[in-house]
Symmetry: C2
Subunit: 311 residues, 2 copies
């Protein structure tokens, strides 16, 4: 018998991982969004409520078509000929506009919960294109660097048509989120001016080193590659104290440190959990120097995927 209601949790994520703009991401353990989905007879998708103790929740759209989670469930119904509908409650745990993939997490949690209510559940790979369409409501473009790691766990290479989980050594991520909102749209606008081929070549070199390092479990190559010379220079000025926060991470042994997603969260990769924890405290202190309170998250780089949970 098919359940009438399911709850899923999707973790936060670090989009781009500095060097893989719109292409690479990994999940973070701990922080995340919940979706409670109920199967209803009416052939519609309804959002009953969006809750959670993060700022701005009241401003999120309850119109399903304008919400990443609602839009994804509409796409699920349309593409797969689902005759019944869904009613949806979201419980936000990821701060809005933090660069930690909040809009993607709601979308993926809703898909994973709704999938459990289908007569014939889909694979994660089948959910991926639906998540891309949902996520596009927030960002305006199809990019899977947040939804792909949430669906598959760990570090994922996300293209427009497929999500490819990548092996990675047992490293740890420190992500420090300063308490101000950087709108994705503003962060994207900073990237509009054209680029020189030489910048592209250097960034590609870093991407190639990073991917080769991941494939070989070679931390030296990962560290050589984990440097964003293309996007970070344009976005860093939007984040007060960025240079000092990045320096704090590197001073505490980061293999590399950059902006998570569209920011303002700053992340670093570290060899050990203890190192990541120490670095996170130093990164918080650097944000405090520019009067920004912050919260910190330490997680294995090989973070969890979205899963069903007890309601």
């Amino acid at each position: 018998m098919i359940a009438a209601r399911a709850t899923a949790f999707a973790p936060a994520s670090v989009g781009n991982i500095g060097v893989g703009f719109d292409l690479l991401g990994h999940t973070l353990a701990g922080l995340g969004d919940h979706a409670v989905v109920t199967r209803v007879d009416a052939p519609v998708v309804r959002i009953e409520a969006i809750e959670g103790d993060v700022d701005g929740v009241a401003l999120l759209p309850l119109d399903a078509a304008a919400n990443t989670a609602g839009r994804a469930l509409m796409e699920l119904r349309e593409r797969h000929g689902i005759t019944h509908g869904f009613s949806l409650r979201l419980r936000k745990g990821i701060p809005l506009g933090s660069g930690l993939g909040g809009s993607a997490a709601s979308c993926v949690a809703a898909l994973v919960a709704a999938n459990a209510l289908l007569d014939q559940p889909l694979t994660r790979a089948q959910l991926y294109p639906l998540a891309l369409v949902g996520e596009a409501v927030a960002s305006g473009s199809l990019h899977g660097d947040n939804v792909a790691p949430m669906l598959f766990g760990g570090v994922v290479l996300a293209t427009a048509t497929q999500a490819i989980p990548l092996s990675a050594p047992d490293l740890y991520c420190a992500a420090v989120h300063p308490h101000f909102v950087l709108e994705t749209r503003r962060a994207r606008a900073a990237l509009g001016e054209p680029y020189a081929l030489s910048q592209f070549v250097r960034q590609s070199e870093h991407l190639a080193l990073f991917l080769t390092g991941l494939a070989r479990g070679d931390r030296t190559l990962i560290a050589q590659g984990l440097r964003d010379v293309l996007v970070e220079p344009r976005r860093a000025p939007l984040i007060p104290g960025f240079a000092q926060v990045q320096a704090a991470a590197l001073d505490h042994g980061a293999l590399g440190a950059s902006i998570s997603g569209a920011g303002p969260t700053v992340f670093g990769w570290f060899d050990t959990q203890a190192q990541a924890h120490e670095a996170a405290l130093a990164m918080q202190a650097a944000f405090a120097q520019v009067d920004l309170p912050s919260d910190m998250h330490v997680s294995p780089v090989n973070g969890p995927r979205a899963e069903l949970v007890e309601g």
Copy 2:
């Protein structure tokens, strides 16, 4: 006892491999340049002669500082405190201006031969920065996508500071060289106009798929990645018949096909040697349609490295 004279052969190469501009290259078996180096007491580098039955050899500079091979040997002397000198003869086998790495091959062959005459020979990794400096005489910039595979063999990721050999499945390359000269400088000038971030993201996606495919020996990923959407569209108009030649390669089963180095040689990667051979004939026929005679080369993608040979 140290020999007084050594001869080395360096193979031709496919620079860029379409999707790794200035970063990726692989060697081709068969075609290549020879360097005969003699150890001399005078603390200088002299070029005695440049020979070979390729067009334009008489125009190549005999001034050591203006020649990729001469310049590399000068750099070898300076960086490593070599007190004796070298006298150099080059025998060109790679057509000039073909996009098959001719200037790089002379440079690498000279280094490998000279290295055998040192009291304390260097490693290939130590020769790499010297080859970069030599190659820069021809191209004006430090990029190792030709010299790196020549020094190490097979497919290599070449950065400004290191050459990283990459594993690749047993694929075959067909390279078809139409008989007209495309000057590297002109081919580079076509790339000057700035680029949009979206082009960069798509090319990065292909690079990531290609590298992941190489690391896993996954031909499907390699085929998905082997598409140059950044450089090829700007250079293709400089090569008469390019679209038809590329189509001929793809019609004959190429995983991908693009421009070798700065062109005008067009290459494709194939599953089998027989396929590569059939495709090469079709590619030649397509060049013949625009009245361009051509020569063809079929080689394992995992081609040889430069080696000492009998004088």
